[in-house]
């Protein structure tokens, strides 16, 4: 009787132990793929579109075609504006490497701009440019000093500027100026005084600026 008990216990133990091991073996599968993701962190294309009241449209593209790859960023266009004209600037950030069909029927990649809009409370675009390139705003932009004037046309839910759209009146002629845009991600840190040195940089681009 005692022997029998021992045997039963032993068999129980062995089956217990092997079930532990074998359950895992069934599901072992060599062909499962990582899930497809909407790549929302990466930005490959940033387009600055200056539209004037009279229908003139100036676009400037900065492109990092391979995203995280080793190929570098290319500033494709100069920004060429006309003296004295007023433009509204809109900034669009796209991940062209994501083949994404969203509700709006876009098939040109993943629109990161929408995410920035959704989290406007944590983001701000800062601008820096050659002094005198614009008559309004005057000065050289708010990168060096956050209180310097920039004409933001949009704001977040707290009434603070966002900067995906803004307004610019070109000043006198400039043949080789610069125009820098910096998007900061200021999670929980965006405030009236938070400048370009607060938070993490999402993009930081410098274009050649010509006003003629």
């Amino acid at each position: 009787m005692k022997k029998y008990n021992v045997l039963v216990k032993f068999l129980f133990f062995i089956s217990f132990v092997s079930s532990l091991f074998l359950t895992s073996c069934d599901k072992d599968d060599d062909d499962d793929l990582p899930p497809e993701e909407n790549e929302s962190e990466l930005i490959t294309d940033i387009t600055l579109t200056f539209s004037s009241n009279d229908g003139e449209v100036v676009t400037a593209l900065a492109e990092d075609p391979d995203g995280e790859g080793i190929q570098g960023l290319e500033i494709k266009d100069d920004i060429v504006l006309s003296v004295g004209k007023t433009y509204s600037l809109s900034i669009e950030a796209i991940n062209e490497l994501a083949e994404h069909d969203d509700d709006h029927g876009h098939d040109h990649g993943y629109d990161v701009t929408e995410e920035i809009l959704e989290e406007a409370d944590d983001h701000q675009v800062f601008f820096g440019f050659t002094e005198g390139a614009f008559s309004n705003p005057a000065g050289d932009g708010n990168i060096d000093n956050p209180s310097d004037p920039v004409n933001y046309s949009d704001q977040d839910s707290n009434g603070r500027p966002l900067g995906l759209s803004s307004s610019w009146t070109a000043g006198s002629g400039i043949s080789n100026g610069s125009f820098r845009v910096v998007l900061k991600h200021q999670q929980g840190m965006k405030s009236v005084s938070s400048g370009v040195n607060v938070g993490d940089t999402d993009f930081d681009l410098t274009f050649r600026l010509i006003v003629r």
Partner: protein
């Protein structure tokens, strides 16, 4: 139950009973003319159950031959030349016993005690690790439960860092990886209850998910013990063992709790044990919560930690069989310093050059991004059979490791990394009977891992899905010749990998590759004199490149890094990353290490000197090589590639301890390491600097004759790391003043920090069933930065910390 109650025997009485009870000795030589005519008869029984032990080995000391007991435990030795000798009695599963025979003894019965007993009352005479064959010739150090129990809230890396030659590399206060002789990560194997701890072991920011509350003993093997434990032991092995599951123990347990001022951390811990003659079990659990730590001058925002751990096990024993099962669970939520996040060179430059972290908030227990949430399950079962031809051991294990990492980003509520890793391991080992002083074992092992990404991260999978299968065969033999033991080991591994990943446009890449390797080990352990012991071991080891070293792609912090199969060089000498390579296009060689380690131990009753020297040559050593600076949408960024080179490590560890009169003792320690990338004649990064320590212990007379007290003071001086690579500030990369080319030396973003002196003070006490400790770490509240902490770029180490703990044992 009837059986249990009748055969229940207290462990103490069992141990005392190792002494002879009855003996039978036949004095066969009536005259001494023929000197080898003595004869000896006796019996070997289990000290606890009084059952005879068959197949136990009985050997006369200094003689070659031995005998084995029969089924009824009886043995007989003939042709003895002396009527006085020492009998060495051993049997698998029992503690070896030396039994002195002289001609006054008439009857002998040798009682053996099971090796699974807790050996509190037994003085361990030789420096045996209890790890078995094949590693006795390696230098090792152990940390026992007694030392761990007051440090439950710390990490595995921190607890073993008191050992010379051992330290930890960290990514903040909560992520700490053991470093042995300058190697860490995939170059130090972590063995958790017999099996390789299966976790996301790549990069510097993942530490093993092992709760200190589940540990009974930690052994640090400083030799490359790959033959016994498997690949990745290039620097050494950290062996973590759980509850010994001793039979014959009364219902016992402990509850403990503690509080620490820095981080306002607290912990509770409880465990229960019980052992009968055939069955034992344990149950344990712990909870730890720590808030933001504080450096002497500011809060370290988001450095809290929360850990829940539970463990249980049972042991069942019938005649020659032992069945053991264990289960460990650890759930960790670890905060990483908030100020360690940056987007580009300007942000990093600001973070690095600021004397205090850029974000300092009020104290909080809340863990925000960046953080890591991990869960680890481990189940191990073993079956041991003490058969007539030796000990067979079957071990099966399964681990499930889930890891979620959260980053400061637009979708901060989604994990940026979400992985599930399952590990299974089966091993069968036969430890053969001793044949002419030759002891050893052979075994087969099958190891599988399955890594899967979980959907919903919003980023392309950083690490691909993969499956690994590895077959291994090993043979370990040791030959004992008087005072010298020779060890020899051989292992063959064959590993298959299948990888499926996605590139950024979400198209799939696949690869299959395999590695084969033979590792060998040779060692000697000898007593030069009674006071001088020497051990020396030469071992090879290997590891396959880890998944991050093969497949990393793109930005990680302020750099872009590409794995070995994610870049290639064109004929024109330019580097491209536009496709994923495979085994056929680019053959990757595994890392192979050759470590020689020798230790000499000179001891007298009052003093002890242990000197360890080592040399380690690693072929195909994988490291991060700078390649260029490339423009990105975030600004210019340095680009690195994983590359292979050959590296050497030389070093020495010294410990000198002295027992002074009146219960004072002190210990000096020194660790020194010199390492080099020999192909490029360049320094390696993140190597431990020279460290000197001095510890003083004082155990005064018990207070009121009842309270035992021990005061300890530990001071260390850590030198600046002079063997550090050159520094290039992120600013110089951002503004283009530094050019980086593919044949440049490695660099760091910040100079190695200055040397620093630290002092810890503590007092441990015990009174009957209560014990406790009051301690202070960083007594002088020194502001310093640790070269091996990745957070050294941004913040100081924590300041003064008072720790209180109390334990009640029953």
């Amino acid at each position: 139950m009837r059986l249990i109650s009748t055969l229940y025997i207290n462990i103490r009485s069992a141990l005392v009973a190792v002494i002879v009870l009855t003996a039978f000795y036949t004095y066969a030589g009536a005259n001494n003319l023929d000197s080898c005519k003595y004869e000896l008869k006796g019996r070997v029984i289990d000290a606890a159950s009084k059952q005879p032990i068959p197949y136990a080995n009985i050997k006369v000391e200094n003689a070659v031959a031995g005998v084995t007991t029969g089924d009824d435990g009886h043995f007989a030795i003939k042709n003895l030349c002396h009527n006085q000798c020492n009998l060495i009695c051993s049997c698998v599963g029992y503690q070896p016993t030396v039994y002195h025979i002289d001609n006054y003894q008439k009857d002998i019965t040798i009682k053996l005690v099971e090796s699974s007993f807790e050996l509190e009352e037994v003085v361990v005479q030789d420096k045996s690790s209890g790890l078995g064959d094949g590693v006795e010739s390696m230098a090792l150090n152990q940390v026992t439960k007694k030392d761990i129990s007051s440090k439950i809230s710390q990490s595995l890396g921190e607890v073993i860092s008191g050992i010379q030659g051992v330290t930890y590399i960290s990514n903040g206060n909560n992520v700490q990886l053991p470093v042995i002789h300058g190697l860490y990560g995939n170059r130090v194997l972590i063995v958790n209850n017999g099996v390789k701890h299966g976790f996301q072991n790549w990069g510097l920011d993942h530490s093993p998910e092992i709760s200190l509350s589940s540990i009974d003993r930690i052994t640090v093997l400083k030799g490359a013990a790959s033959v016994k434990y498997g690949p990745e032991a290039l620097g050494g092995v950290v062996i973590v063992e759980g509850n010994p599951l001793s039979l014959f123990q009364k219902f016992n347990g402990s509850v403990s709790t503690g509080y620490e001022t820095n981080g306002r951390g607290y912990h509770v811990n409880a465990e229960l044990n019980q052992g009968f003659d055939r069955f034992s079990y344990y149950l344990g659990g712990s909870y730890i919560e720590i808030g933001d730590r504080r450096a002497p001058e500011y809060n370290l925002t988001n450095t809290g930690k929360e850990e829940i751990a539970a463990n249980a096990g049972f042991h069942y024993h019938i005649s020659n069989w032992h069945f053991k099962f264990r289960y460990n669970f650890t759930d960790q939520d670890l905060g990483l310093l908030r100020s360690s996040v940056f987007g580009n060179g300007d942000d990093l430059q600001r973070a690095i050059s600021s004397p205090r972290p850029l974000i300092v908030n009020d104290f909080s227990y809340t863990i925000n991004e960046p953080s890591q949430a991990t869960k680890h399950h481990l189940a191990v079962s073993t079956v041991d059979w003490h058969s007539p031809i030796g000990n067979f051991s079957l071990r099966l294990s399964k681990q499930v490791n889930s890891r979620k990492e959260y980053d400061v980003r637009r979708n901060a509520d989604l994990p940026i990394i979400n992985l599930n890793l399952e590990t299974e391991d089966a091993r069968i080992e036969w430890k053969h009977l001793s044949l002419n002083q030759l002891e050893g074992s052979v075994g087969l092992q099958y190891f599988i891992q399955d890594n899967d990404n979980i959907a919903g991260t919003g980023v392309t999978a950083f690490i691909p899905n993969y499956n690994t299968r590895r077959w291994s065969f090993f043979l370990i033999e040791s030959l004992i010749k008087e005072k010298t033991t020779y060890e020899l080991g051989l292992r063959m591994d064959r590993e298959y990998n299948s990888v499926r990943g996605r590139v950024v446009d979400q198209s799939v890449f696949r690869n299959e590759y395999s590695f084969s390797n033979v590792t060998a080990s040779l060692g000697v352990l000898t007593d030069i004199t009674e006071k001088i012991h020497f051990r020396s071991n030469l071992s090879s080891s290997w590891r396959a490149p880890n998944i991050a070293e093969l497949y990393s792609f793109g930005q990680h912090g302020f750099k872009s890094i590409y794995g070995l199969w994610r870049y290639y060089e064109t004929l024109e000498g330019t580097f491209k990353t536009d496709r994923v390579l495979n085994e056929e296009e680019k053959s990757i060689r595994p890392e192979k290490g050759y470590k020689w380690i020798s230790e000499i131990e000179v001891s007298s009753p009052k003093t002890s000197l242990v000197a360890t020297i080592y040399a380690n040559y690693i072929e195909n050593f994988i490291f991060e090589r700078p390649l260029a600076v490339v423009g990105t949408v975030r600004g210019p960024m340095p680009v690195f590639i994983y590359d292979q080179t050959n590296a050497v490590f030389f070093g020495a560890d010294l410990t000198y301890s002295h027992d002074l009169h009146k219960n004072w003792e002190y210990e000096w320690g020194l660790s020194y390491l010199w390492s080099r990338n020999i192909d490029d004649d360049a320094f390696l990064i993140n190597q431990p600097p020279i460290n000197i320590s001095y510890a003083l212990n004082w155990s005064p007379k018990p207070l009121f004759d009842r309270v035992d007290l021990t005061f300890d003071l530990k001071t260390t001086y850590t030198f600046e790391q002079y063997q550090s690579p050159r520094t290039i500030a992120p600013e110089e990369i951002a503004n283009g003043s530094v050019e980086i080319t593919s044949d440049d030396e490695i660099f760091d973003f910040k100079d190695a920090p200055q040397g620093y002196f630290l002092a810890d003070l503590g007092c441990s006490w015990s009174w009957e069933k209560l014990s406790g400790r009051v301690g202070v770490q960083n007594l002088l509240n020194t502001s310093y930065r640790n070269y091996l902490n990745q957070m050294r770029y941004f913040a100081d180490e924590p300041g003064r910390n008072f720790l209180f703990s109390i334990q009640y044992k029953f």
